[in-house]
């Protein structure tokens, strides 16, 4: 049996109610796991579940409790070293590659740590009450979004851990959504040439990298109504896509050869059929489901093969702003993407897979990282990564925005990543 996942995170709730909900949701995601599953890191990008649970807690303890709740007694002073991720200004931290080797604190001790810090947050907010000008308020909101990011990472990482095991254990025993609709012809949403504004100017929480709003000039273009499907991607494979150097970026072709790439991560072919490892276990490939777990190199090569290109992040955002109610309608996460419907309008903007764009991840004009330690949040990663837009089936409801900028390097495949085609107008 699987856990009843909690997803009802309306922003109308009070901040402390949202805090409780996010924290409970993280725990709910762990329900299918055995103690052993919490411990290991199956590759360098993957953090142990135990680490995610403790790190998100350390974030609240370090940036909210310690500065604003003077009576607080640190749970364990050695945890700062173990559970800092990359905040250089917050002190020394353990080498990332050692995360999967530390068997202590145990899972139970990490759960205790979570409860202890949760109680401290409750105490702090009893005092602050609803003073939303208090500096802890903004930081707590940041902490919630930070934990939601780690909810998605936790699932992405545990998928890789389970897949690494030759026994291929299943995360959820219910089957993946079987709602298969008819195959779509390519339909397009147009963008007129002209001057637009992108980036977030509203008085709500955003990450720093979504700001400031600024003008940008777009050539005329169009975006596909739906995401590239497994069937379409299989055609690329069958047509020799992985054997044709002219389709690939130079670095991508090198990766194809050195890692012997032949299909997306988690795909395996046997008994004359492609299969895909999912959080529901290993399943025959569904043709209408969006392709997932592909690198930027693969997304780019596919688009070139298809005669199209990837969208820019500005194109994607302009279109998404026209259809922003799509994000509101997401009520819960699912554990695998679903097919598009027959409707004749752009869809699958949110809640399926992160969509690679052809925009490198750099600062918006006028962006400067804030100066405190939380200023390390995003700016220092603005190098050699690409922007992904939308959200995935694992993204917690309430954690999507049309201006949201996700980012990964060109070779990342363990994320829930796919693509939407674009073309010049």
């Amino acid at each position: 049996m699987n856990a009843p996942f909690l997803n009802d995170l309306r922003t109308s709730y009070s901040l402390i109610e949202r805090f409780r909900s996010v924290r409970m949701q993280t725990m709910a995601l762990c329900t299918p796991l055995e103690t052993e599953d919490y411990v290991v890191s199956s590759m360098v990008d993957v953090s142990p579940t135990k680490w995610h649970l403790a790190h998100t807690t350390w974030f609240f303890e370090t940036f909210i409790i310690k500065p604003y709740l003077p009576s607080y007694q640190t749970f364990d002073s050695r945890y700062a070293f173990l559970f800092n991720s990359y905040y250089e200004q917050a002190g020394a931290r353990q080498c990332r590659s050692l995360r999967g080797l530390a068997t202590r604190p145990t899972v139970t001790e990490v759960f205790t740590y979570r409860s202890y810090v949760d109680e401290a947050v409750e105490n702090l907010f009893d005092k602050i009450d609803d003073d939303c000008q208090h500096p802890a308020w903004r930081k707590l909101e940041m902490g919630l979004h930070h934990e939601q990011q780690h909810q998605e990472l936790l699932l992405t990482d545990i998928k890789h851990v389970l897949w690494t095991n030759p026994l291929r254990p299943t995360y959820r025993n219910d089957s993946a959504s079987s709602l298969h609709t008819a195959f779509q012809r390519q339909r397009w949403e147009p963008i007129e040439e002209g001057l637009y504004i992108i980036g977030n100017a509203e008085d709500q929480f955003t990450f720093d990298n979504e700001r400031p709003a600024h003008k940008t000039y777009l050539q005329s273009a169009k975006l596909s109504h739906s995401l590239v499907t497994n069937a379409e991607y299989s055609a690329f494979i069958a047509d020799g896509g992985y054997q044709t150097p002219g389709l690939w970026l130079s670095d991508g072709w090198r990766m194809v050869q050195s890692e012997q790439l032949r299909a997306p991560l988690y795909w395996e072919q046997y008994n004359g059929q492609w299969h895909e490892f999912t959080l529901h276990g290993e399943l025959p490939l569904s043709p209408t489901v969006p392709v997932c777990h592909i690198s930027y190199y693969e997304a780019d090569a596919f688009a070139r093969w298809a005669g199209y290109r990837l969208p820019t992040e500005a194109e994607w955002e302009i279109v998404a702003n026209r259809h922003s109610t799509q994000q509101i309608n997401l009520q819960q996460i699912s554990f695998h993407p679903s097919p598009a419907s027959d409707d004749n309008h752009i869809q699958q903007l949110f809640g399926q897979v992160w969509q690679w764009t052809q925009s490198p991840y750099i600062a918006y004009p006028g962006f400067y990282p804030s100066c405190d330690v939380l200023g390390e949040y995003n700016g220092k990663f603005m190098c050699d990564q690409w922007v992904l837009r939308g959200s995935s089936c694992l993204t917690p409801p309430g954690h999507t925005r049309t201006t949201y900028r996700n980012f990964f390097p060109s070779d990342a495949r363990w994320q829930f990543t796919g693509l939407r085609l674009a073309a010049d107008g």
Copy 2:
């Protein structure tokens, strides 16, 4: 004694005259070398001089002579494997790391190969005469620009080979320019907010990546009149720049630590003073000369420390178009950068060091690589690199354009790379 370098490459010359001049110039650059110096590769990015001489020749043989001169007898059919660089569609090629291990063909045999192909080019152009519509015409022009790129690389690479040797041999025995002018206060050239056109639309030779011309919207900004100097960069070092993680991109900070970076490549400190290895040998650091041989990480960290930022490539190009006569005035290469003058206008746009910009190297809107084998020229490297603008002291005269886009990855330091500061307007 040093060779009389030939630099008089006016575009008014005929194409075949320009061909002779470029080919002779490459040979002239080799005059100070011993036979042994032609053979080795001192690190993975560095190609042997022998390889540069043969590869540029193979380019003419493969793309111009073989297709258009039917009577041509291949010089040695095995050279295609040895001297192809990265043209996947032009057949198999030797692994890059083996370039420095092949002692044969000898330098003399490579010289013979050059003469043999040069003669074939002369024969071909006797027939074509001045039919500038002939398809070989455009390709020969491409071949000349290709060889000019390798002239610069040849010098950049041999500098690294000589430096690797504990004996620190000298390339040129004359001393570096000693024209030291007064230290400059920071002055700025403004850019108004608005819509601009960048990219090349003219009917002259350009690389594919400079096209098409297209509109772009710029916020108001300003560019420094001159390049950052050794004195300014020394102040950054003295202020603990290499010990302050908050100044660095995350990948950059990792490089600082893993490679123990403390100064630009080729700098060494002894007897209480910084020295710099140059093509004139090892010299005390000159304070007014532009800083050189720094990575993107270092340029970016310096700008952050100084309270400014790097320019975008669009900002740089807009300003350079206003001062495009600067490139015309370059009459010859020099072997080390020179200080700025006292003049109160923007300078050092060309002929000193390549200038890092904050623009990732990607396709312009509407750019698609051409479909033939030469279409591999630039497009497939559009990933994880930054654009550099201007030209360096090693760039051959006639090989500069305001629209020229050079590109290197973030950690490249063996190139002649420096920076110019920018700021929001």
Copy 3:
């Protein structure tokens, strides 16, 4: 509280009684561990506790139950792949580096696997009764010795896992033996020049590499009465032993430099004093305890510094045969070595640390590996390793012999390894 370790393994017991005892002992060793501790591998040489428990069980299942108990139903056919160590002829096996990444089967499932196979062994022996000519008899005896080897490895490995954790958890809460005796002057046991017989010729269980017994000629020599102590080894460090290249083998000096060796593994210096991480936690260094966790390189360099040499394995065995009752007197394992007594005779031959010899690990004259799959047991490792003699504080009682040949490569330090000095006679 710590577990009551079972050590009463008299050989007078029946084989099935010894089987039960050995199997229970392995479980008893795990009592202090948390579930998380069973899962990880802290470096390439270290196997997870979970793997040791399953691998030793797989050994009985594969080599004893499956061939001789036809009614047996395999517990899980996928375990053969997961828990084979290096038996090429017994089928494919998981890459060693993945052992620490497989979170499933869980610890509980491994315990179930052990019970299941134990029951099958009981069933088999009900049938065999006391027919000690049955071929399963000899193999079960081999399996017991194999499991005893893994008992020692399990403790050695878990020590490294706990030490890797910055929290430095403790395996046993009782303190290490504090019986410190007076410091010993160097006394010697002589060996006369002449022809000797070494190797095992008796009708008891031995590993194949201890046979055949054969003649060997020894020069006159002498062996130290006791093991080198922490105090003596500290003097070597204080005298610059790790900074003097002339004391080291060439490969050893390279290791000293590349890994910055300054002391044995698990030693750390703070507050002006050396400390040692033990299974009782981190303790101040005891001067009279034998030095432990040193590589062959360190043992060899120490001996050269001291003006002596390491013994050959023949010298060691000749002397040990004279004092073979020492091994009988060992009643239980301890978790850290102990000081020598004041007695004026050779001591510490067994039960303290494995003693490096200067004998490479090769076949005895006339040795040929047996041809069945168990023939892979020892022969194929006879390359680039050294023989160690005696036994350590972790070696299970009943698992020692004067002819026993342990072996490790020159750089192994995570084993309980020390040394005894020798000299020409």
Copy 4:
């Protein structure tokens, strides 16, 4: 045309005459090379020819001229850093991997260095005259043997450099010996069980590792009359030798898999036939010639496949002492091994290939390295290597002894290494 190699090095000549002869011979070996061939290192074990020429010269300069010829002016003080190999006590030295990157000094400068030091040696010996008690005398003799070792290495290394080049240049244009005799049945030379003396006790030059002579006890055994041939080794390959894990040491099997070994180094199969790259160029494999360029792993696996074993070094030396005139009869080097004759006695002990033994390379009983800097000569390599006996076709005449101990690690294949079978008596 090839150089007239000088090989007439009778020991009756005076020491200074032998010095001239050895030094000229080294130069003669370089005659077929181009300047470019002197510069590179084609893998980590291979030193450039230029380095061999300078290093052997540095040896005479450092250990003989500087201590005993006070008037000597150092040729270039920076050469000590460049051309020291591994003498820690003789000062800092260049990292081995940089040897192939230093283009200066040029080949011509190295030749000048040789002449300069040769003249100093002549001056020194004018003074010493024939005082063979002078300490320089013994060291010069060591220097000659050292240079003879490097003559063999120089050829071994240049073979690898030429083979690395896709053009496969030829060292000698004359063809390899074509004297093919009838295929041999296996015949054996017996050894009786008993006590023997091995090691060198005579008053002639030897390396330190051949001493002292000492007693050793041998079981009865027998050695094959001739070396294993290419035909025999081909049968091993055809029988799946490289696909049968049971034949291999564990480390050997790992190397077979990771490096995809299928045949000896320098073998290549095309047109349905094996070919072998030799110093005479690439030739079809000759069936009766001894197999060459195999690792210890391959020699050991072959012997196991054939049902025999490798000899011990003691067995080999006992037999060689009975036939020691074989070494005297060698008058010159050849560049590839030759077949055995039909004679019914043991042969090919010297002058064909180095013969792997099953004896690890360790100190003889009573051996202690001498204390001066030359004491580093052999002792510090006594770890993880195997003894090879005899000599190869490249070994200079006068450089062979029945007690000579060559040594290489298990995976070395670029040496001229083969095997002779042995069996228990």
